[in-house]
């Protein structure tokens, strides 16, 4: 499993999924789709590599398998692709 740096993951989620992180001791951010809250992701503050349990928990929250998570952070997986994954999992339902 590829290990990612906290900043890289945070930057990718902010830029690609438009998640704005804020909060207290840890960073929490929402994924919105058509103004609806869809998923909430928690990332620890600080720098350095994400530890394995933390990275798995973040990936799990995003409902992605390891290759898709890597693609999301690394670039190939675009917002539209990710939204389609969530639609397939019925986590986004068009009204």
């Amino acid at each position: 499993m590829r290990k990612w740096k906290k900043n890289k993951v945070k930057d990718s989620l902010e830029k690609k999924l438009n998640i704005n992180f804020g909060g207290g001791k840890e960073l929490n951010g929402w994924l919105y789709y058509k103004k609806r809250k869809i998923l909430r992701v928690t990332i620890p503050k600080g720098r350095g590599e994400l530890k394995i349990g933390t990275q798995n928990a973040i990936r799990d929250k995003l409902r992605l398998n390891s290759p898709d998570f890597d693609d999301l952070i690394n670039c190939p997986l675009r917002l539209e692709d990710y939204i389609n994954i969530l639609k397939e999992k019925r986590l986004i339902i068009e009204q």
Binding site: M1, K3, G23, G24, K25, E26, N28, W30, Y33, K35, R36, K37, I38, L39, R40, T42, P44, K51, I52, G53, T54, A57, K61, R90, L91, I92, I93
Partner: protein, 130 residues
């Protein structure tokens, strides 16, 4: 053996290279092993979220996943996590994250997707606002 080696520098060099290679492979293997080891799992119950605006109607079950260098706390039903280097830190973080999730769900109650709707149901069942 020492004699044979001292008389054969290419052989020494070959052994040295081989040992260095094995050391590197072992070090890599050790790192991979430490990363792949399954966490120790423990369930605890929390009786307070440490927020004066809130009363818990019942205890919240928290799953603690302890790895060699971190602890991940999870409230599975509402998909809340807290991370830390120690159990106390992870528990402190998850408590704060549960409270913030509750208020973030309430403030947008009419604009929630399927998952957040479920989380709000779970949290309403266990939380009463003072």
């Amino acid at each position: 053996m020492q004699n044979i080696l001292s008389q054969n520098p290419p052989l020494v060099s070959k052994f040295t290279d081989r040992i260095n290679k094995l050391e590197k492979e072992f070090s890599k293997f050790k790192k991979e092993m430490s990363q792949s080891i399954a966490p120790i799992l423990k369930e605890i119950k929390i009786i307070s979220l440490g927020d004066e605006r809130i009363i818990l109607n019942r205890e919240i079950p928290i799953l603690l996943e302890t790895y060699s260098d971190e602890v991940v706390a999870k409230f599975i039903d509402a998909e809340v996590t807290g991370f830390g280097e120690t159990e106390a830190e992870a528990i402190d973080h998850i408590k704060e994250n549960i409270v913030s999730l509750y208020y973030e769900l309430i403030e947008d109650e009419n604009n929630l997707g399927p998952l957040p709707k479920r989380w709000l149901l779970v949290l309403r069942d266990i939380i009463t606002q003072k």
